[in-house]
Amino acid sequence: MKRDEAFRILARHLAGDIVVATYTSAFEWLVARPDDPLNYVAVGVMGLASSHGLGLALGRPTRRVVVLDGDGSLLMNLGTLATIAATAPPNLYHFVCENGSYEANGGHPIPGQGIIDFAGLATSAGYRASHRIGELHDLETKLPALLAQQGPVFVDLKVTAGVAPPKNYPHLHSAEARAAFRRAINP
């Protein structure tokens, strides 16, 4: 399934939820759910999206926090799976967009492309539930029950690149985006 189409489905189900998006995924997410102050894009460095998400889940335990990770990003921070599983925030939902490549860095293949079982890694680390979804129809039908599960929940989205929006890096790194998010969750 194309990532932008998957994100449009997610956006319909995540109204009012904090969403942490990173790099290439972030640009498509900002099209799927534009102008929403609950979009957290201040990940800063590749690999740390889920760590930001864990901090947000701990800081706002009554809100659902959804992380839209990349497969290359997750490989840079695999230890996060053990950290999140051990901390066990019930409100954290960790999605990885698996396209098998470092899309932000030239489209080179990730190590273990097509071999690594990301959902299996999450299960082994101790996530409460893990899922693999490769079809839009499955995503649409499974999402409500999946989001009703107690976290941490892991979802491996098997995706291909969607329609590439402009890469607005200055927005991702902007102080205004960070301030707007902070105002939204600290009224």
Partner: protein, 172 residues
Amino acid sequence: MADGQNTLSGSRILAAVKASGVSFVLSVPDITTSDGLLRPLANDKELRLIRVSKEDETIGISAGLWACNTKSLILIQNTGFLDSINAIRCIGVEYRLPICMMIGLLEKESGRPPSRSDKFGVKIVEPILDVLGIDHALIDNDDDVERITPAILNAYRDSRPVALLIGRSPQP
């Protein structure tokens, strides 16, 4: 030499951390602070310890907590600091977030400043912090502990990172 310059109390450090309003401590174990600080902290009722797999995770977790108006302290070893510099560079320095780090200096020689250590991994810590523009203070004895609370409070007030360098193993 006064007693306060010969000892370093872990319980005093913990009291100073609590006085700054910190509620989460994010850590990979550090041998310098293992017995005197991390073990008592793990049993503390007021501070929540989050054990992470690798030190740079703490920078992201701390940023997420900051967004929620929640204060955290990062407790790591100088080796982990060196491993986390890109995250500190971006999230702490360029984003100007209050990333508060307490860094144990592995095998720093007693009574010798870090900059004059024979241990290369210790000697380079302060120059790297200076290049990054991160304020730092050496916590080498009980007299130094009074620096901890204002350092953390100022970091959050001014939204900038700070490093507190633990120069010897605290006593529990």
